[in-house]
């Protein structure tokens, strides 16, 4: 009797649990379950299309084992107050700077580069390191890239600019005076697939300055943006504000803050940037501290940057 009773109990129990199970299983929403399990944190890529905006660095580095060959031109100023006229085709005949650069991605985070510019005959070595990358879940809301460069000018010193009478080791001192350093932190955010912006605190240190009123170390803050209006074209703009007293616009010392605006076109491995800027020089030590043309006086010039990527 007991046996039969137990068996009935067992059967009852199991049917009841099976019934429960069926009810539970149909109430599972596997889509929401799946969404809970999908990793939501990914790195935000392509904040900017290339490593430069117009004058300024973007937070982008060169991809691993890729060589970025860059050619940049700054032509003469357009307006007649700044030297542009019909005879030089509004600046086209005068190039104020030409830069040729090779920049290589040792890893996705670290870029090394070397360049030569026409202006001041600058030879430049650069390092760029991606410190932090924005994530899609916004736990890291922005990207940070560090930039450092050293530029050396081998220009002819007939005027004895780099010489000083009381030098103890004149040959070495004269060489050191030709060197300039730049350090920047590039803080960028991709707000949407179309809009990216960045802030760039910058420092330029020159071992030697001609003007006794000038500081060797100059601080500046850059701001830049990119707005994509088709899948391969974007508006780009950047501006650098100088904190140096000598370069305050109100002080009328002939220095201006560099402002650039233009269009960026991407075609496969090429990026073309076609723009106008009042900066005559291309590398940081030139456009941050030595911009002497003003937009209001017609001192803006046609310019372009070309970047070509080769996978090595």
């Amino acid at each position: 009797m007991k046996k039969i009773y137990s068996l009935i109990m067992l059967l009852l129990l199991c049917t009841s649990t099976y019934a429960q199970n069926e009810k539970d299983s149909s109430s599972y929403d596997i889509t929401s379950l799946l969404n809970d399990e999908v990793p939501s944190k990914q790195k935000v890529t392509a904040t900017f299309k290339t490593t430069r905006i117009i004058n300024m660095q973007s937070n982008e580095t060169v991809h691993k084992r890729t060589l970025d060959f860059r050619v940049a031109h700054r032509f003469g100023a357009v307006g007649d107050k700044s030297g542009g006229n019909a005879h030089n085709f509004y600046g086209f005949d005068n190039s104020t700077d030409i830069r040729i650069a090779f920049e290589y991605g040792i890893s996705d985070a670290l870029t090394i580069g070397f360049s030569r510019s026409k202006r001041e005959e600058n030879l430049e070595g650069l390092l760029k390191y991606r410190l932090l990358q924005q994530t899609t879940d916004n736990k890291i809301p922005f990207s940070i890239t560090l930039f450092g460069s050293l530029a050396y000018t081998p220009k002819n010193d007939a005027a004895g600019l780099f010489k000083k009478a009381d030098d103890s080791n004149p040959a070495l001192k004269q060489q050191l005076r030709r060197i300039t350093y730049v350090a920047q932190a590039i803080i960028a955010r991709k707000f949407s697939s179309k809009l990216s912006m960045e802030l760039v605190p910058a420092m330029v240190h020159r071992n030697f300055v001609e003007n006794p009123l000038d500081d060797n170390t100059v601080f500046a803050l850059g701001v830049a943006g990119r707005f994509k209006f088709t899948r391969s074209m974007a508006f780009v703009a950047d501006y650098v504000y100088n904190f140096s007293d000598l370069r305050k616009i109100d002080n009328n010392n002939g220095f201006y803050n560099p402002l650039g605006a233009g269009i960026e076109i991407e075609t496969g491995g090429h990026v073309f940037s076609i723009m106008w800027t009042n900066a005559a020089g291309i590398i940081e030590r030139e456009f941050i501290t030595n911009t002497t043309d003003s937009w209001t006086k017609g001192g803006f010039r046609f310019s372009f940057n070309i970047s070509r990527n080769f996978r090595l």
Binding site: L10, L13, S26, L34, E37, R231
Partner: protein
Amino acid sequence: MKTLLMLTFLIIGEAFGCYAQPIYLAQGAKASFYSYTPVEDIAASSQSMTSVLNISNNEIAFNVPIRTFQFKKALMQEHFNEKYIESDKYPNASFKGKINEIIDWTKDGIYEITATGVFNIHGVDKQHTEKGKLIIKDGKFNITSAFNVTVKDHNITIPKIMMSNIAEVVEVKINADYIPYKKDK
């Protein structure tokens, strides 16, 4: 008394069996795709696909974040995300559907299966019925499948200049290992 004890064990065992979760989860599953043209072969793969399987009603769902697809060429990966799939707008590819065959999920073996459901990439749904293979071993499952996706079906436009480099039909392969789903990990 002996029989009573045995029955008690049976009841407990049976009860546990009945309460077992019908949900299985695959994490870090593989998804890859191939585009073959005379000019160029392109391949990319992700190890970040997630899938959920409900063995009580054969429902199955997959999701893979687009950004996790790795290409050999970094620039190609950038173009894939930025220009073609627009991963900022459409971050995931997904499939949700049902396995059509009646399967005894407790029996080890290799089964040819088909699944019918909706495949979504680039924000565009497309009905699919695709073949796959199910391996059941020791209460764990492995599902593999290979199927074709027509790029045009999902409003993915390829510029004329790239037409000879990118295939119109892309072959997709998946491979997922399932284990019982535990809510609190």
